[in-house]
Amino acid sequence: MDSNVPEHCPGTQSDDAGKASACAGCPNQTICASGEAKVVDPGLELVKQSLGNVRNKILVLSGKGGVGKSTITALLSRSLALNDQDTNVAVLDIDICGPSQPRVLGVLNEQVHQSGSGWSPVYVEDNLSVMSIGFLLGSPDDAVIWRGPKKNGMIRQFLSEVDWGNLDYLLIDTPPGTSDEHLSATTYLSNAGLTGAIIVTTPQEVALLDVRKEIDFCRKVSVKVLGVVENMALFVCPGCKTVTEIFPAKTGGTKQMCLDMEVPFLGSLPLDPKIARCCDEGKDIFTEFPDSPYLDSLKNVTDKIRKLCNTS
């Protein structure tokens, strides 16, 4: 797509495409007017076929960065896969510019292989696989300096060409914002049957501000919000056990926001430095800290999500 899109472009799918007053002088006017731009993206059908054997497809979203989308995606996937070996779980990381899943799931230097049936994802456990652009980069320092259309092509490829096998849950980790990656993912997945979105936030207003926008985004593109998970809510000092709100909820916090926006609240996870370190090192918290109270909160959230998936 050209970067000189007119300000009031009616959109390539519109009936006015190529015919609106804003189209005058646009380099794409003839293409739009010919109706060629309205042809349905063949990717939609490919994604639908490829994800036919995936029972639940869940997006993990947040308007804000650094609230723990990747951490919670990884922990939820481990938690869902933990219960029984017959539940197959996969994580797809569509954060193209800042992929974190390889590190958080502890498969940093793995490679993906190409086979006749597509890309084979990297297996963390027998029933937990992951795919990320991180596996395709030569060095961890490599930056992916891509504009939207290239990122969209990559996401389409991830959704249509990865050989997941039969899956019960596919969790999709996203970058912050409401732009190309999110639009592409929701467009392709809605067509293939998207279960819904889990929204992650932290309690302070500056995060909630962006998260409200994300919920608005979900409404605009008709994605069901399964619920909101609050992360980094309370901090327990390892020295004296004093409980502090590091990111104070000046505006009533996540629960209040859920009431205001009429979306379900799934639970709250504390800020635990041990968990943060564990994720940084890619270790499994279920084997490292089996007694941590953090796991109770996590299991609670996991159960709710499992129930929501079974009823929807």
């Binding site: 970067s3 650094g66 609230v67 300096i145 912050p176 190309d180």
Partner: protein, 207 residues
Amino acid sequence: MFKDSVKHIILILSGKGGVGKSTVSTQLALTLQEKGFKVGLLDIDLCGPSVPYLLNLEGKDVHQCPEGWVPVYTDADKKLAVMSIGFLLNSRNSAVVWRGPKKTAMVKQFLTDVCWGEIDYLIIDTPPGTSDEHITVMENLKSVKCDGAVIVTSPQEVAIEDVRKEITFCKKTGIAIIGIIENLSGFVCPTCAECTNIFSTGGQGKH
């Protein structure tokens, strides 16, 4: 490119979200203002603008004048001018659901159409990543002298990993790196004064 004279331009970057780019941007702007400089603060995070909230300017409006957009001033002396998409939205809850080309057009307009007046510093707050907004800013700043970028990070490996990508971006595009700021290093318990590294440690020095 700018309508008026802008003496210094500083970009605030980070590959990772939530490390404090906007907080650092606003604090830097306020500090420079306090030192007597005239400062402009441009927020190009279109999907998640935080600067209006952080400077308590929510609900303020941008006005149009014959020369372009008049930024929002935080004070009567017009020492600190702010521009953000947050001022252009009807509701604080509405999402900006735009693909790259539209974001690019908006960023370009922010860079060319705002009447900053004579300012000493222009600070540009960015969204996380190395994509449309960043490429556009970098391309448009080529024609003017940009002093460089301040990179913000937090101490955990998972943040540093993304920050390394941002440094590669700067090197590839020829943006000088003024320095790196580590945010959220330790948390001092208000009761026992024990300092905990809430986001693990050790990332910074190594790189």
